[in-house]
Amino acid sequence: MIEIESLVAGYGQVPVLHDVSLKVAQGELVGLLGANNAGKSTLINCLSGTVRPRQGRIRFKGEDITNLAPHKIVDLGMIQVPEGRLVFPQMSIRDNLMLGGISARARKQRRQRLEQVLETFPRLQERLDQHAGTLSGGEQQMLAIGRGMMAGAEVLMLDEPSLGLSPLFVQYIFETIAKMHRMGLTILLVEQNSSLTFRHASRCYVLEQGRVAIDGPTEVVRNHPATRKAYLGM
């Protein structure tokens, strides 16, 4: 479904990604692991079109989307739930969710999807007219995922959804992700929390200083000596 070929990207003169290739098949839940500053966010921002790659190709369902504008990529159904949630703090939860379904692709089904999101996250229902800035970190993550659901995603890319959340919330967020996956959504999960990622992903990539250091089925990656040493510190 997603094919990245030899991607090179960076900011100004600073290179970040060197020759990264990655594939996600339809219906898969793929984990993308790596230490801080490895280039994980840069990679999915290339997929979303907010960072322009210097070289390489990105294909989505066979179509070349390498230099497509971000809103066009959203229109194709490839949706990012960004690192740090990036909810609109001065807007109500309702308006945040409405914005999640703003694309031409999603606009018609916003009412139904709003119902679904609020069923999934009853805590948001209680606070619909409250500003998003008043929510706790965990609730903001629910809202960010809810916005992604509003978009009618075919692929959901989540950038460190567990970052800064209490263990209870992390558990809850991962269960929600697993549920969405079971309902047929293709998921690319960027995480530093490797144990939970290993539990849910069928395949994993480990990014190290902008290069794919290890990739393969989760079992293989988990037991790879380099993973254990460099990444998990075991």
Binding site: Q90, I102, R147
Partner: protein, 286 residues
């Protein structure tokens, strides 16, 4: 006392239109972080267009606004898309320079086409008067006030109730997140420029009856607009409207009791005092 009442009413009424002008610039600022120093000159442009339409077709300013509005919208669209978009994100001094350059271009352009003499455009209601208590008021002021208030209310509804408004607020609060939601950020910015500049056509036609035009007058409107914008806290809707009334009132009182140009000292003085106590604007926290 009579003169004071007259000045207060007049200032209050005109303040509504000033607020509308500043709302346009505030909207532009809120999605692009650009403060255009040519804002008042675009209003001059609109007013002079009305002059031409009157000269050619004897068209009343209240009618020609239906022509100047789309023209100014087009100008605003082009201003962002061709001139400012390519440099957005670069040094803010560069953008200031660019808009300052535009003021020269517009003022000299108007001077070349219309000459330097003062111009007036008559309107069907220009000389109509009415009584407000004991004070005599001109109809155009009341019309300007009501139209500005109505348009401000429409803008407010647009911002809070429509998808376009949500997109504007999203781009204001976080352009990257907006793009990730599927908002076409460049399109929103371009449309907001078109809208913000087109509002000047409305304000221009409202201020035109009874006004004398002169090619350099844009600067005064720019200054007034910037005072209001800063008073209002840059992108606070209600704050900007409030700022409009305060500047309108103080300008009217100033020019009534202090002679000529020195009348503009009062709004400045008030501005400085307010900013000392409320540096983030009248209602500002953000």
């Amino acid at each position: 006392m009579d003169m004071l009442a007259q000045a207060l009413i007049q200032g209050f009424l005109i303040g509504g239109t000033y607020g509308l002008v500043a709302l346009g610039l505030g909207l532009i600022y809120s999605v692009s972080n650009i403060v255009s120093f040519a804002h008042g000159d675009f209003m001059s442009l609109a007013m002079y267009l009305s002059v031409s339409l009157f000269a050619a077709f004897a068209m009343d300013p209240y009618v020609s606004v239906f022509i100047t509005f789309p023209v100014l919208a087009l100008v605003g669209w082009g201003l962002y898309y061709f001139i400012l978009r390519p440099v957005i994100g670069s040094n803010s001094l560069m953008i200031i320079q660019l808009t300052l350059g535009l003021t020269f271009l517009l003022q000299n352009g108007l001077l070349m086409v219309y000459g330097g003499q003062m111009l007036r455009v008559p309107s069907m209601v220009e000389s109509k008067l009415f009584l407000m208590g004991d004070t005599v008021m001109r109809w155009p002021l009341l019309i300007a006030f009501i139209a500005s208030l109505a348009l401000s209310a429409l803008l407010y509804l647009m911002l809070t109730r429509t998808d376009f408004g949500r997109q504007i607020r999203a781009v204001n609060q976080n352009p990257k997140a907006a793009a990730l939601m599927g908002v076409n950020v460049t399109q929103v910015r371009t449309l907001v420029f078109a809208l913000g500049i087109a509002l000047l056509a409305v304000a221009g036609s409202l201020l035109l009856p009874g006004a004398t035009l002169q090619p350099g007058m844009g600067l005064r409107y720019t200054v007034i607009t910037l005072l209001i914008l800063v008073l209002g806290g840059m992108s606070n809707f209600i704050g900007i409207l409030l700022g409009g009334y305060i500047i309108g009132l103080s300008e009217a009182v100033g020019t009534t009791f202090l002679s000529g140009v020195s009348g503009m000292i009062l709004p400045y003085a008030l501005f400085i005092v307010i900013m000392l106590f409320r540096p983030a604007g009248l209602l500002g926290s953000r």
